[in-house]
Symmetry: C2
Subunit: 352 residues, 2 copies
Amino acid sequence: MQKINNKTATIFDVADKAGVSRGTVDRVIYGRGRVSQETRSKVQKAIEELNYSANSNASILASKKEYDFACLIPEFKKGDYWEEMNNGFLSAAQDYSSYSINLTIHHYDQQDVLSFIRESNKILAAKPAGVIMNTVFREEVTGFCRKLEDENIPYAFVDNKIDELDYTLYYGVDPYKSGALGAWLLTNRTNPEEVALVRLLRDPRRKADPNRPRRHGFSDYIEDFFPKCKIHTLFIDPDNPERIYSTLESFFSQHPTVRHIAMTNSRVYLLGDYLRRHPSPDRLVVGFDDLEKNLACLKEGIIDSLVTRHIPMQAYNALTSFAECVIRNKRPEHKNHFVHMDILTQMNLDNY
Amino acid sequence: MQKINNKTATIFDVADKAGVSRGTVDRVIYGRGRVSQETRSKVQKAIEELNYSANSNASILASKKEYDFACLIPEFKKGDYWEEMNNGFLSAAQDYSSYSINLTIHHYDQQDVLSFIRESNKILAAKPAGVIMNTVFREEVTGFCRKLEDENIPYAFVDNKIDELDYTLYYGVDPYKSGALGAWLLTNRTNPEEVALVRLLRDPRRKADPNRPRRHGFSDYIEDFFPKCKIHTLFIDPDNPERIYSTLESFFSQHPTVRHIAMTNSRVYLLGDYLRRHPSPDRLVVGFDDLEKNLACLKEGIIDSLVTRHIPMQAYNALTSFAECVIRNKRPEHKNHFVHMDILTQMNLDNY
DNA sequence: GTGAAAGCGCTAACAT
DNA sequence: ATGTTAGCGCTTTCAC
């Protein structure tokens, strides 16, 4: 029989035991003022002996501070990857309502560096308590973070990170490893001679290529384990369903032996139409991220597995941990949080 | 740009708007006393218009109630499945320290019905605010729950449940489905003619067989998809490593063609010694639950995959949600929480 | 039925 | 450098 008993000492008990006032106890705990060395150690001793820890309900209630947080993430359409992130942030902010934190989410266009700069300037002007962002435009993110550091505003990264910067916190998967996991899922117990890697055709002026590490994780795995395997790369236009269909059709009629297909970005559902109309029992398709539409393809059985993590939960945890750090004015125990990569198949889809 | 602003109306605002006192507002919210129909609707209107919701920090702080919870789960040795559960409960209780909940964990011997009855009587005598338990001894659990109902003490189940009973909450995986997922993992992309299902030799007087649904999920899958596949069942003695070794050795020398091996209980690590000393590149081994020792076997590469869920998290969530229900005196939105089944392989083991 | 008021344990501003 | 005190938003008891 084990017992957990939650009777806790109050700041009053500590003050009594140390023979000082509550104000002084508060000062030594939070380093808020000048306390003599002697009193300080008396108080610390009392805290230790009573195993005191503050009642967070009382302290949050009493503290009238408000915290403004800013998010800077890509804009999205319904069903997109970043919509899920956005939802995670929103619900984190909502759940923290008792802590009086305010959240402003800024969206930029991934194709347009200027929109990033514009939004980041808005954030600087608003002087928030903390900023949380992803890092598609390496150079511009770096510039922005330097300015934040100048203003003493802490910042955190989600999804990807820039190691050189002094961020408070990072939440994301290891993209390289996730790519390798996808390759493993695709090839495990098979011996592929060819695989098709489908990529998105995107504006060539675009600076960002956020999927590169994942793609490399994927192709390195294939090259390491199946050195003779040929990787066919083909590009589809995400905004033109008919062209996707014809692109795939012409590719697969030219390469009828290709049975392993992967997409390392989050939009494997774009293949759905083609796959549905060209059923093939021994084809294997692997994608990434648990977008609604991807899950539907999994359920339908036209794709085989998905590598993902719980996207909204990742955003939720990132914001709440970061807020915790900012509010309590401390660094986290672990700076980098690599979240677990989930494997999703038809068999374990139900309660995700 | 989206904004979440956490300025919320207080009970004062509601009272003002409705032209009543705070006490009355409290009465209508929690149904604590007699309020005239007229005042009631005025207050409800004000609440709605102001979109009021109570500040939980303040309410928890003001409410001096203490809540005693009891857990009733199997005893365990270090590294066992139930140790992880236990840890989940402990950390949930610890994290809830501001809410003044006390937790007493009672352990019984899974081989010994009497120990279950003894502990359950202790719990009845202590009259806790709520009880959380698993359900190995069907009959005795039912009897216990009836008595709890007589005393108006709510109870929750983890891991397995008895559908006929009026439990408040259940957290667990769907064991049948998890068995099927294990079978899928074992056989996917292969065409097995024989599989070995290893079971634990246990005291025959023992009433409980908690793994039955999982085992059936496993074998039904095999029978459905591979009707010609022969399932060899063999029993090992968990307390006798040498005998395990010899049992396996003699089995596999008699059945050298068996390459698919599964264990539907949580102790697949028991096979480790044999597997390690008899390496075989085309053997496939699947187990369940993320015990440390199982994870070590995965890492080492002697088993292939594990079906699991985050055990301590399941316990944590179960206790916190249940406590929430009991403290707020309400039923949960969803009674049954089927937690997601994770697939663990060497490739996604790292950040679990 | 309803209102008034005393805390809950803490923070922060004000005294000393 | 240290003590005092007025709240924070709510629960709960007591009075009317």
